[in-house]
């Protein structure tokens, strides 16, 4: 008898009931896993089947129209591009500034840093619809009064993705070893020179992946924009920050709420486009992450 068998036979006289419990447990775990995988599969397959007939080059280049067969998503694509790029650039700059300040210029134990950190964690837990309320009260109407424009939507989404961006940017800065900073100081560099010439270049891949995550959040987000009141079909591309617009998630929402089946097909086709865009973004993030894995 080998040792493990001996141990097993000694350890428990009711080992067969234990073993059947083990099997049952593993079955439950597999079932949990299957639930997640089947969801993903059902979601993708179901969308592809209902969207296939509407997907065409015309669908990409046409504008929304009262007739389902002539409807397309060009204005929504351009709207998404405008809004997502604008909010991405602004939130990345704000997140970089905040993260650099907190990580490189304040003491981790200081009351200021703890206060801002808790504040950002709180913001990260706020439901996205609440950011919509903030945008509605402050940006669309109220003090700024921009109306429902590209600028309002970009401002709202910027506020929404900022906490996430700050957290990922801070992680990227934290991952840079302190030996790099100390070496730079030893050579006589100031703090800012160290940050600018050593830390930021070293943290660039981490920052890039983090901001791509933030941008994909903004690209797929619908709730705050629904609240801002833009569900009209817009049949022209945005021309500036004060322009009307629609975005891909809102087109999907609008089409999904229509009763006729043709509109469901349009919604599904638009979902396929949205998911492809998101997968492409994520693929870029993964490539950056893998290419630049630096071992410190």
């Amino acid at each position: 008898m080998t040792t493990p068998q001996l141990v097993a036979s000694l350890s428990d006289s009711t080992s067969s009931s234990r073993r059947s419990k083990d099997t049952l447990f593993l079955t439950v775990l597999w079932a949990s896993l299957l639930l997640a995988l089947l969801t993903l599969a059902a979601l993708v397959i179901n969308t592809l089947i209902s969207g296939a007939s509407s997907l065409s080059w015309n669908f990409i280049t046409f504008f929304p129209s009262p007739f389902p067969e002539d409807s397309g998503i060009q204005s929504a694509l351009f709207g998404s591009l405008w809004v997502t790029l604008t909010s991405g650039v602004i939130s990345l700059s704000l997140a970089l500034g905040t993260a650099i300040y907190l990580e490189e210029f304040t003491n981790p134990d200081s009351r200021l840093q703890r206060f801002i950190t808790v504040n950002i964690q709180t913001l990260a837990g706020v439901p996205s619809i609440v950011y919509g309320i903030l945008g509605l009260a402050f940006v669309v109407r109220g003090p700024l009064g921009w109306g429902f424009t590209v600028g309002s939507a970009a401002a709202t989404l910027t506020m929404m993705v900022l906490p996430l961006m700050i957290v990922t940017t801070r992680e990227a800065l934290k991952a840079v070893p302190s030996s790099l900073r100390e070496g730079s100081y030893a050579l006589g560099a100031t703090r800012w020179q160290t940050v600018y010439r050593q830390v930021l270049p070293a943290a660039r891949p981490g920052i890039a992946t983090g901001s791509i995550l933030g941008v994909s959040r903004a690209l797929g987000e619908s709730a705050p924009l629904i609240l801002l009141g833009a569900l009209a079909y817009v049949s022209y591309n945005p021309t500036g920050f004060d322009s009307d617009f629609t975005v891909l998630p809102l087109m999907i929402f609008k089409w999904a709420t229509e009763v006729q089946d043709e509109y469901r097909g349009l919604a599904a086709a638009a979902i396929v486009v949205l998911l492809l865009l998101l997968f492409a973004l994520n693929a870029v993030a993964i490539i950056i992450r893998d290419r630049s894995r630096i071992k410190w």
């Binding site: 997640a36 439901p127 619809i129 009260a137 100031t190 619908s222």
Partner: protein, 355 residues
Amino acid sequence: MTTISSAAVASLLPTGHVKKQRRIEKVVVGALALIASSGVIITVGIVFSLMQPTYKFFTERAISGYASDETFVGIEESGAGLRDSSDISFADESLIQYAEPVSLGDFFGSTAWYPQYEDGDFGVLPLIVGTLLVMLTATIVAVPAGIGIAFFLNQYAKERTRRVLKPLLEVLAGVPTVVFGFFALVFVGPYIAKNIWPFSDVGIYSGLAAGITVGLMILPMMATLADDAMAAVPNSLVEGAFALGATRREVCTGVILPAGLSGIMAAVIIALSRAIGETTIVLLAAGSQAVWTFNLGSEMQTMASYIGFAGIGDQPVDSKGYQTIFAVGLLLFIITFGLNMLSRKVVKRFREVYE
């Protein structure tokens, strides 16, 4: 003692170049501090923007919400421009309906939520019950399965399997909520919710379909957070249990679960708060009637989906209907804020510290 040349001493003193660097440093720190305050400004903005209309909702008379179309002339149809109450000209002054301020007792005590009528009811209980029902359904779907997946990833999966599964979960977590909402409407509702609810007929819109789909949406997040919590359990404990002859199942339920409980509970609370705040899925799948019911097979509205719904119907600023958005929004904000605080407390209070 060696003499130091005056040139060497001079090189150690601040020169113009160094002084310039110091100035740059000061400007940079100031600018960064300013940027870092943006988060605080947003928080203040949220609280302020919610408080003011909510206060008016409870204390002031206002134009009745969703006032019927005949009441107004000259409202623009398109999304362009401002639609303040000042933009609206009244066809006939006598047609304007006013709603009285809502008392806190009516708000929390009444079971009727009909803000759209001129003589509206403003009892938020149907929205709260709807939120709880959808949240409970989502919990039943996401929490056990999420912990199960985490056990699998943590104890059973080989490194290769993990490397396939983790990105798949990330993909699922990255699917936009509007896509899940469509999925709920065309798949979960008609094919799943309709067939598993024994207590009543399930229509096109149901709290059940919304709850199941919200559960599926938060499942990957639940699994990832629970996996992180389990990974924090020290290996020595796990190996000790194996050395005593425990099976993998016994290690999971007897060691990892209790040792990682604080993190797992925090994960559950964070997932719950995501479920409570979910708007688009519920808006698409659960209908637009705030029905006072405990039957999951019925249409219902949650707090978040009401806010989204009220935002679609374009309402004049400072009307009663407009103010409900903020009153309900403040309630939602307080609840999710409380849950997030709780999750942080749970981690601190119940964390088992090893070594």
